[in-house]
């Protein structure tokens, strides 16, 4: 019965597919990071399941900070356009951006162990310990892994 429900939820979805496409990770690295981290909903096969999965990852990964700053940035643009009429909006956007920056700094300083990111921060160096390759990014070690169809980096 449980299986049936899951299938109802997303089954029809991944269906016919030759189709796979399903799991397009809104998180993979390369290019569309902005869109990916900003995307709230994935409209694919896997409907609710996928969306829930994405949301779960979004909360965990440090990239949530970048999502926040993305939305803050776009809000700020909107605010600038309507500056004359909407000074208050801009203030709100600025406040959000500050909050996002703070969040980003916090995330960069202390990514929780076991959390995953879709893309590595800049300036990483590969290190091998015990036959396993890690990426040393400013003292924080990451290890690549597949989470479902998505390649992610796990904070060690």
């Amino acid at each position: 019965m449980k299986r049936i429900q899951v299938l109802k939820a997303f089954g029809v979805a991944m269906t016919l597919p030759l189709l796979y496409l399903a799991h397009v990770s809104p998180d993979t690295s390369s290019g569309f990071t902005l869109v990916r981290s900003a995307s709230a909903v994935v409209g694919a096969p896997l409907t609710p399941v996928s969306a829930a999965g994405v949301a779960r990852r979004t909360t965990v990964r440090a990239a949530s900070a970048s999502a926040a700053s993305t939305s803050a940035a776009s809000q700020q643009q909107a605010a600038t356009a309507k500056q004359q009429e909407a000074t208050a909006q801009q203030q709100a956007a600025t406040a959000q951006q500050q909050a996002a920056t703070a969040q980003q700094l916090a995330a960069a300083a202390h990514p929780p162990i076991g959390s995953t990111v879709a893309a590595l921060p800049a300036g990483c160096k590969p290190v091998t310990e015990g036959g396993v390759e890690y990426q040393n990014c400013g003292g924080v070690h990451y290890r690549a892994a597949f989470q479902g169809n998505n390649l992610v980096y796990v904070v060690q």
Partner: protein
């Protein structure tokens, strides 16, 4: 001359738009048949049974995926996928595009996910049949296997599970093939399937509309090419890690 041309074009467009609008209105006004029409069921069943009877096949597909951003704006991503299957226990799927570059290989014993551009792959022991492997990948690894539900031997039941309404929309031409256009409704999604007419009732297009999400994003797959007599090589369903490609783990679900 140009202005006359423009005027004629405008008149033509206006005519077309009117026709489309009228057609749209008349279709919208049409009462949707209640329940699932036997014709729609029959056509879908014929297609899934036909595919289930194929021992091996490959298909090239063009896929579009919509993502809804927090602002409500829709963004579309495009991918190409090639799926090769050999019953009862071999599968290979490659997809490339905006968001992914991934190869999925199942050789009857293990399942491999390979991201060529990232130079990483992960491999795990898998059950010995396609059905069991697909179930294993979905429930244990959260991996969506290419060709998904189509490959299940009970594809029809999976597709129709939860469907409350269904009807035949009419005829359509997809990728040059004359098709029957079917539409179904399930609790969270709407499904449209186009099935090739004739002796080989293959699915040619599938559109999934996720109704219960803002702006109802869609996922669409069009099969640009079916091959029911593919020539598979020894390497089709085997995975050999290219030099420089590193093995990583699957995170437990």
């Amino acid at each position: 001359m140009p202005s006359t041309y423009r005027a004629r074009l405008a008149a033509l467009l206006a005519k077309c738009c009117t026709l489309i609008a009228v057609a749209g209105i008349s279709m919208a006004a049409q009462a949707q048949p209640a329940g699932i029409s036997p014709d729609a069921q029959r056509l879908l069943k014929a297609s899934t049974d036909f595919l289930a009877s194929q021992k091996q096949f490959s298909a090239d597909t063009r896929n579009t995926l919509e993502i809804v951003m927090k602002s409500g704006q829709k963004i579309e991503f495009n991918h190409l996928a090639k799926v090769s299957a050999q019953r009862p226990n071999k599968l290979r799927a490659e997809r490339t595009g905006d968001l992914v570059d991934q190869v999925f290989v199942y050789d009857g014993k293990s399942l491999t996910l390979h991201n060529p551009a990232d130079k990483f792959y992960a491999q795990v022991a898998a059950p010995g049949t396609l059905d069991a492997m697909l179930e294993f990948a979905r429930t244990k690894l959260d991996i969506v296997a290419p060709a998904g539900d189509l490959l299940y031997t009970n594809a029809y039941d999976i597709l129709m599970d939860g469907v409350t309404e269904g009807f035949v929309v009419g005829k359509a031409v997809i990728e040059g093939a004359l098709c029957d256009h079917l539409a179904f409704r399930a609790p969270h999604v709407d499904l449209q399937v186009w099935i090739q007419q004739g002796a080989q009732p293959l699915p040619r297009k599938l559109v999934i509309t996720t109704r219960d999400m803002d702006n109802a994003p869609q996922f669409a797959v069009t099969v640009t090419k079916w091959n029911l007599k593919p020539k598979f090589g020894a390497q089709t369903f085997a995975f050999t890690a290219p030099a420089g490609t590193k093995k990583v783990d699957f995170l437990p679900r």
